[in-house]
């Protein structure tokens, strides 16, 4: 049975995020209370996810390396985009990620966590510390083929060392078509990578600038609005059981053939997509 490998420190899996840094990522994204650039929304969501993974893998003796994590940007160039101590590294064990964010930003709270309404100007508690590992960038083209190629190189090396692990998960986040050629063959080549537990999982998250209805985890491409959407759909892996179960726990009711693909995602769709797409096995 595929996608059933135990994830442990001896057999970790990895998450590789490919983030579109093209010019158009400057445009605002749908959803949310106030206008926000797509690049910013993505950086926030992925940074928050890194934080979330760090907490979920924290045990009494520290953060366990159940995951190796990488973030590759593609825009003016293609390459890893960690800032700070981790700069230049492709895949980093989670314990190192957890210990070394590039910055601790002081952010205004997006929600009130207060049990009682605090009086205005009441000192502490107005901001929260938010760890970030990389910053939003938006200039250049969309060299998606380059990004897929780079991912393949990075993951081939990783797979040689982890032939029995749960297959790597690659999440590609983009708002437009590839500018360096047809990305489909590169996506296929990437999905061809395999461990004893199954093929690599490639998920595609497409962002909208307008207020179109997000389409999340569709089964068939019939209802997708255009060829570009259909192409991205075809490039996306079918969700393994545990991710589908996680989505269904959130009330999505997915079909068995649902793919890891979202089109016209707004802010909340990004969060939901990343949450479902990183639910591997039950962590303890």
């Amino acid at each position: 049975m595929a996608y059933a490998a135990e994830i442990s420190r001896a057999n970790p899996t990895c998450f590789l995020f490919l983030i579109d840094q093209s010019e158009s990522m400057k445009n605002n994204i749908g959803g949310g209370d106030k206008p926000m650039q797509k690049a910013e929304a993505v950086a926030d969501a992925v940074n928050r996810l890194l934080s979330e993974l760090s907490i979920k893998c924290a045990k009494e003796d520290g953060v366990r390396d159940y995951f190796h994590v990488g973030v590759i940007g593609y825009g003016a160039s293609v390459g890893p985009i960690f800032d700070g101590v981790l700069a230049g590294r492709d895949l980093v064990p989670l314990s190192e990620v957890a210990a070394q964010p590039a910055r601790l930003e002081e952010r205004a709270r997006s929600y009130s966590h207060a049990a009682t309404a605090a009086p205005p100007g009441a000192g502490p508690g107005r901001t929260v510390k938010f760890p970030t590992w990389f910053s939003p960038v938006a200039y250049g083209d969309t060299p998606m083929c380059g990004a897929f190629g780079r991912a393949r190189g990075v993951l081939e090396a990783w797979l040689a060392e982890h032939p029995r692990s749960f297959p790597p998960i690659v999440v590609n986040i983009t708002d437009g078509e590839s500018t360096d050629g047809d990305a489909a063959p590169y996506a296929l080549a990437l999905q061809d990578l395999t461990t004893a537990d199954g093929h690599l999982l490639l998920f595609n998250l497409h962002l909208s600038s307008d207020q179109s209805e997000p389409i999340i985890f569709p089964v068939q491409d019939r209802y997708l609005p255009d060829d570009f959407a259909r192409k991205l759909h075809r490039m996306s892996s079918v969700l393994p059981d545990q991710m589908r179960a996680a989505a269904n726990r959130q009330g999505l009711m997915l079909d068995e053939a649902a793919r890891g693909f979202a089109f016209n995602a707004d802010i909340s769709a990004i969060v939901q997509f990343l949450d479902v797409g990183t639910q591997v096995l039950e962590l303890r």
Partner: protein, 717 residues
Amino acid sequence: MRFPSASSYMEALQDPASCFSDPELAAGTPVLTALGLPRAMSGNVATVFRVECPTGRNYAVRCFIRSFEDEEQRYTAIAAHLDRLAPTWRVPFELQREGIVVEGRRWPILKMEWSSGQSLTSYLERNLWDSPAIAYLALRFATLAQQLRNAGVAHGDLQHGNILVAPGGDLRLIDYDGMYVPGLDRLASNERGHRNYQHPGRTQQDFGPHLDHFPSWVIYTSLVAVATDPLLWGRLDGGDECLLFRHEDLEAPGTSPAIAALEASGDDSLAALAQLLRSFLARDIGAVPPLSPAKAPQPAITRGDITPVAPEELADKQALYAALRGTAPAAVAAGPEARVAEDAMRAHEQLPPPVAMRFAGPLTLSRTAVRAALGLVVLIVVITAAGALSPALGVLALLLVGAGVLALGNQVYTALPEVEAAREAEAELGRRRAAAAAAEARVDDLAARRAAVDADEAAARERAARDADELERREAAEVRAVEDDLRKTLTALTAREQASYKAERDALAAALHDLHRDRIVGELARRPLGTASGRGVSDHVLYGLALDGIRTAGDFVDVEVRGNIAVVVAADGREVRVSAIGPREAQSIMAWRRSVEESVAVLLPNKLPPEKERQVREHYGALREALAGEEAPARAAASAAAAEVKARFAPQHDQLAVELKASEAAAVRRRVELDQQLASARKEAAEAQWRVRSFQREAAAYRELTLMRFLRQLTWE
């Protein structure tokens, strides 16, 4: 309902004063990480933060990240039951239904007393070499299992992370989300427990006092095993989200390395426990008996069979353990050059040299005998020297005494217990060497098979590529043949079309020619010869011609003069001889006929009447249309033929691709399998090498115990 994420709780905890509704927690401070963020510990359903309060008490605040609908009912029943029993393993808790505000909403928390202690795995790793402590822990755990059962309680998820060893050695259980207590009978289980501990037959419907039976045996067996042989922890990669057993072991006990290792350990308790696990796995989960401290096989160390290991041996074992532990299977797969054996050897060489053995037994009797023999020798020499014995007899007597001493000495020497032990040590060393050589041979064999897999795969890929090329070539040839046929057909059609244009032109010309001929013939027939009389042709001649049926210009075509006779060639080819015509008259007649002809020619049309032309053109047009009509079917037939070829070849292409994929997948599986086997074979080889070294040390210690030394010792020392 979607619960807040772990990171949302972490944000909220940054300001306990405003997020907690409990006043004691609100006044507290969360323990922070090096980054200054609240330090979290997560499980499957909850994230826990430690909060230190000014009251001097510390709490574990359990925040739920996954919903389970009936938690209030469960926790109320659990709290009521545990409060009544107050078991020692309990960590008191309080469910606060609206204990924390996250993202503007109130959520439940569990406020638990902070229990200082180490998880089972941490404890084991820190106390691995303290076998009595681990054995004691095993017995304590068995007692805990009995307490749970007597209380009618099942924890539901007994595993290394949920069992804490408190500083005094007491065991505490945490994480009661899946706990069964009497009164919850009608509910189903909200989890299935850690799969490295649970019976593979456990389902959501299994919820009752029997839940902990199987995991208790798994934990107890692991603890007894580690107490008996700490090396098992390294050999089986213990502590990697498990103790010694993984779900693969429980799902397939027949091929389980852990169960096999226990059975091969040579320890009766371990073998018996392994047998029990096997039999439980063959049963239904409800039929697994509870773990009872009185009946379960005990750790050897508490049976008094063995004593704790000597410090030197301990250091030795620890060195091997470090070597075994230093190479996870993945690392071995990555680089076969990571030779475990060498690490083990290096570690071993740092040990102090063995202490040489001495003859220890009471040698007084032997020594007395030898001394007596010496006395005898002196006596013989003295007697011989005194001449009481001939020198020959004296020498003979000396030889006899010498031989007697040697024979006696040898017999005594051979029977000495230390000498027997030395022989045994030597023999054991021989066996160990053989075992080590066999283990090395197995490593080499596996390595060779591993290399063969790569070679086979490369060959298969090459073969597949060749087959694909060949297939493509054949397909292309067939498609080309189809195209060639089509081209020929089309060329033929073109030729016939061009021919039809020529035929059309010819037909038009022929029709015009016929028309002209008919017109001329008609006109000539309307001109009587009589009109030629004015041209010097006599009536007599005309009359004669008329008699022969030549009356008009149309009735003849030529007049030839042959000597004196003119021959008129009639229109029907007859020759009419007219004797009275002279050459001049003949010429006149012909001249007349020509003039008539010329006058008719002027009146001839230069084209066919439209109706006639239309007929001709329509005829050929229809012909060409028919030709054009043949092109489309020809093309259709050709593309159908090409499609047929492609369709015929497609399954073969697919077949090749499927075969290649399958063989690649098989190679991957095989490689992983071999890597696994190789890793364990390397570990075995390392251990075997280590054992050779140990026995070499032992054998070396006996090396001093030679016969000569024995005799010397008897004689002089």
